[in-house]
């Protein structure tokens, strides 16, 4: 079970595990923020740590809360270790790596839901089964939310309700999650009673 304790939720809400070393010709790690700790914990369990690092490619970016553990990951001595400044700058590198990856590649995703979800989406697009991509949540619980009305995605949502960054509607945040979009669903909260928007509450930190 994940170290982050999430409240009970509906069945479309992702659940996260704990990264475990698995056999593979290449170990591709995608992480952000506190996810770096999940990577070092996983390596500590590896029977052949040096062998694993010699076949490991780490792609990392700081978390939405500013946590930056690049130095810790760089010190591991992986075959490749790259720091992207943001998630949007990280993703093109992942796509390039996937373009000529082979079966036998092991995927490890760690950190916030926004990072894990978007990396999973891009790996899935190759035909690789999402079920077999390892995912461990660490750090911030802010959410990536799609507005069901205008389809715009608002990153790092902390409050419920919140204002859609694209169309300006007030949205409540559901636990319903789309792996294809890598986002939770936001629905207009005052559709039936326009103007009656409850004050926002911080639900995701």
């Amino acid at each position: 079970m994940s170290k982050t304790a999430f409240p009970p939720a509906i069945k479309s809400r992702p659940v996260y595990g704990v990264l475990e070393p698995r056999p593979g010709a290449v170990h591709l790690v995608v992480a952000d923020g506190e996810g770096a700790g999940a990577v070092t914990d996983m390596l500590a369990k590896a029977a052949d740590r040096a062998g694993m690092l010699a076949a490991m490619h780490i792609i990392y970016t700081p978390g939405p809360n500013g946590t930056d553990q690049t130095a810790m990951l760089a010190a591991l001595g992986a075959k490749q270790c790259y720091r992207a400044p943001t998630i949007p700058t990280l993703l093109p590198r992942l796509t390039r790596v996937l373009s000529d990856a082979h079966m036998g590649t092991q995927f490890y995703l760690a950190g916030t839901e926004g990072l894990i979800g978007q990396a999973e989406r891009d790996i899935m697009a190759t035909g690789f089964p999402h079920h077999d991509i390892q995912k461990e949540h660490r750090g911030s619980t802010v959410r990536r939310v799609q507005c069901v009305h205008c389809k715009g995605i608002t990153e790092n949502v902390a409050t419920d309700p919140f204002v859609c960054s694209h169309c300006g509607l007030s949205l409540f945040v559901r636990d319903h999650y789309s792996r294809r979009i890598a986002a939770f669903q936001g629905v207009n909260i005052d559709a039936e009673d326009p103007g009656q928007v409850p004050p926002p509450v911080v639900r995701f930190t």
Partner: protein
């Protein structure tokens, strides 16, 4: 109705493929087109073997877009319970038979970037239909096909002629073995693997792939179990109030059917789950032989798959 919708067919042709394998061609009795199907599907063929009703699943090997007929290939099993022997000895052109609508327990994952197929012996049959379907609708594939000898390598000629770059053949009697580790290491991300053949081969392929980091959900296999033989045993059927005896060469499902109990089924090979039955009381050991129930369910002993599983002990009561 148990077993689902049926097709009434006539045997149009029987062909000796080699010493062990015969091919059967079925056309519809009323001349209407056969339903299209998906590569990997099987049909359950119903046989009347001198009063004994046998129902065996066989993979459809013909082109799924050929609506004029279905074709299956049957390997003779001299030590088996008699289904394949009946097909070889008694099924001749002109015979009217009933077969089930196609059911697919071995489908291609059509999102895959590439399909890697590994066949042993008669396990080639589902791949023949899948390759025909991929040829019509697009899709990359690579086939590795092992047979005991060149003479027993059914359909190798037509496969290599049609797909020389995709098909690789191996012969046991020439000491040829698939270099599995190398084949598995060469596949682009998003490849799915399918294996059909003898039990040992399936286990070898799956364990090798897993040890090389292949994901569980990209590994697909099909293995029909013959119901197998065993000691006779007695079963109480709680719902119908009958007590039946299952003979040595009979499955529990067949014994229920012989007693006039209409029990559900589809594949009759321990794979589909349709015949799952609750165990009400059991003083003895259930000999689970199916792929459907989980290991925990096997251990718990509260369910049985009557198509393949048997019983040894004092008494067994099931909910039928």
């Amino acid at each position: 109705m148990s077993g689902g919708a049926k097709l009434k067919v006539r045997v149009a042709e029987v062909v000796n493929v080699n010493d062990m394998i015969k091919r059967f061609r079925f056309v519809s009795l009323d001349g209407s087109p056969m339903p299209a199907f998906s590569g990997g599907a099987h049909t359950v063929v119903e046989m009347d073997d001198d009063g004994v009703r046998r129902l065996n699943p066989y993979s459809l090997m013909s082109d799924p877009e050929d609506r004029s007929a279905y074709e299956i290939s049957v390997r003779r099993d001299d030590a088996g319970r008699g289904g394949s022997l009946f097909m070889h000895r008694h099924v001749t052109p002109g015979l009217q038979m009933e077969i089930s609508y196609p059911v697919n327990l071995f489908p291609l994952d059509t999102r895959a970037r590439k399909h890697l197929m590994i066949a042993g012996g008669i396990g080639i049959t589902p791949f023949l239909a899948q390759i025909a379907q991929l040829t019509h609708f697009g899709g990359r594939f690579e086939l590795h096909y092992a047979a005991r000898s060149q003479a027993l390598g059914a359909y190798m000629d037509r496969l290599t002629a049609a797909h020389p770059a995709q098909v690789h053949c191996y012969f046991d009697d020439q000491g040829q073995v698939i270099d599995l580790a190398r084949v598995l290491s060469m596949q682009p991300i998003g490849t799915h693997l399918y294996v059909c053949g003898p039990k040992g081969m399936i286990a070898w392929v799956l364990s090798t792939a897993t040890s090389l980091g292949w994901p569980e959900k990209a590994l697909h296999h099909e293995e029909f179990l013959a119901p197998g033989t065993g000691m006779p045993f007695q079963v109480d059927l709680a719902a119908t109030g009958k007590t039946i005896t299952v003979g040595t060469n009979q499955s529990l499902l067949e014994a229920m059917e012989a007693a006039g109990v209409d029990a559900p089924y589809l594949c009759r090979g321990g794979a589909c789950g349709q015949c799952e039955t609750n165990v009400i009381a059991c003083d003895g050991a259930i000999l689970h032989r199916d792929h459907w129930l989980t290991a925990d369910e096997h251990a718990a002993g509260r369910k049985i798959m009557p198509c393949v599983s048997r019983f040894e002990g004092k008494s067994l009561t099931i909910d039928r």
